[in-house]
Amino acid sequence: MDMLGMYPTFYVPGIGTAWVMGIIGVIHVVASHTSVGASFLFALLETKAYREDKPQLMDFIKKYGMFLLVFSYIIGSITGPGIWYAITVASPRGVGGLIHNFVWVWAAEWVYFTVEVIGVYALVYLIGKVDAKTHLKLTWSFALASWATMLLIVGILSFMMWPGNEAWYQTGSTNDAFYNLNFFAHLGTRTGSMVAMAAVVGLMVASRLKDMALRRSVVKFLAPIGLVGGLFAVMMFLYYLQTLPNNAVVMLNTHLLPVYARGMVAVFVTATLYLVFAWWKPHRLYTSLTVAMFAFISIVGVWPEERMRESMRKPYVAGQYIYGNQVIARDVPGKGIVGEVDKIAEHGLLKLHPFVPDRLRVINDSNRLEVGRLLTKVACANCHSLEPGTPLRNIPDKFHGATDEDLIAAFMQGPLKHGTQPYMPRIDLPDEEVRAIAHFLATVNSGKDVDHLIAEQQKLATKVAAK
């Protein structure tokens, strides 16, 4: 029998590989959005300096550019490859699917990224060394290259949510994937928020300026741009919500908005008030306050936003054809991809998964618990941690501590088998695999130390084998 193209499952207790990826991702988004937003602020500010012949504004650009080089670019360049490492481990087939769609888009993104990185060095170190007009052209090239990296990555990220049309499944074309239903809304949201974030970081840098006249002119320039960016981001976000698939809308209404809506409104209101205040009283701009504001936006704004986008996409990891648990959910004729759910229902994961240890391929009384743990990790742990009380939508809490094996199994043979919960994948397994998972979950829910129990059983099994 042909094995499925599955990879080993990595498991991080409590937070899962999902949060590892999420934490790296949020740091990356904060750094990269700031630098892309800043590139536009530079270009606009330098245009003003050039037209009004105010070369002193270039001092600010140099300071901010240096700050970006030291913080954003270094942090961004470390976390970018960090995301690659993390997603390859967490979601190998999801990444594989994206590469098979977007390999040239990523190649193009890296070309622009190279231009961006060289651009920021040139921009900072060539101030005063080349004529003003050449420098201005350089800064605009830097800004456009920066935004191009965002535009290209957003096409990929928004395809992950869904193509939004049937065409891609039939053609497999990169264009059908890239220009998906929520591409423009997503791009607009990020473009607006990157400008707002860059304006706040700009105020952070401006607060260090000793020359009050310069500070005033910089702040009066940055604050309104930040306000417009923030407003634009909110409007585009509302549009974005209209471009989501049904599973995302259900997830949003049932689980996400009740938790995050207040924080998001708070971020918008606080950031707006802060920018208006800075605009009004530039000399009252304290560095500590600006740093706190930026931390607030990152933690209460960016983290929930990224978390929501990742959660809403469930049960899929990409394009509504790969489930979070790496199983192919449906046929994609355009790519020659065949759905796997029914095949798994017929033969079971134990027979089809290439990385199941041989001693666990057949269930018996002495390995049921261990097989249950393995199957639960394979089928569930990409989105759910297994320890009660832990943050990644842990299963014991989702089951409200149910200790009845028969009812846990019933849940798997009813809703899960038929895929009736909008944000859960269709998981259809042979009876004995269902019973192994139910046995494991019931044991965990009853508060027993499963790892210890399994170790005992293994010891016993080796003893019996030795005799």
Binding site: H400, A402, D404, L407, A410, G414, P415
Partner: protein, 116 residues
């Protein structure tokens, strides 16, 4: 002291009224056992009986007899056919059904917004 007395009186009253609602010869439903047994049901119907997934009914305050009949019909799989509920009701005993129905029927829908 007076409060405790009042509380005891109220509890007694409540207890007798539940017992009275029972048909003769059947033991009173065990709401706690019903809640424990229903834990897997909460994934869709929630512990407070107010469902959030579209198309899933609220069970809070639903008529007890109706809930019992529905669960029995789902369990036998003939009179009511539904791939989700037939599977969920299959392992339930008669006692489970009485207890779970009691658990959900005793809830109120107050302060939970209008039913969908």
């Amino acid at each position: 002291m007076k409060n405790i007395f009042r509380l005891g009186l109220a509890a007694l009253l409540l207890a007798t009224s539940t017992v009275q609602a029972q048909p003769l010869g059947e033991p009173a439903p065990d709401v706690g056992a019903g809640k424990k047994r229903a834990a897997a049901c909460f994934a869709c119907h929630n512990p407070d009986g107010i469902a959030k997934i579209p198309g899933t009914p609220h069970l809070a305050g639903q008529e007890r007899g109706y809930l019992e009949n529905a669960l029995r019909a789902y369990r036998d799989g003939q009179t009511r056919q539904n791939p989700i509920m037939n599977a969920m009701a299959k392992p339930l005993s008669d006692r489970d059904i009485v207890n779970i129905a009691a658990y959900y029927s005793l809830q109120t829908r107050m302060n939970n917004g209008p039913a969908r």
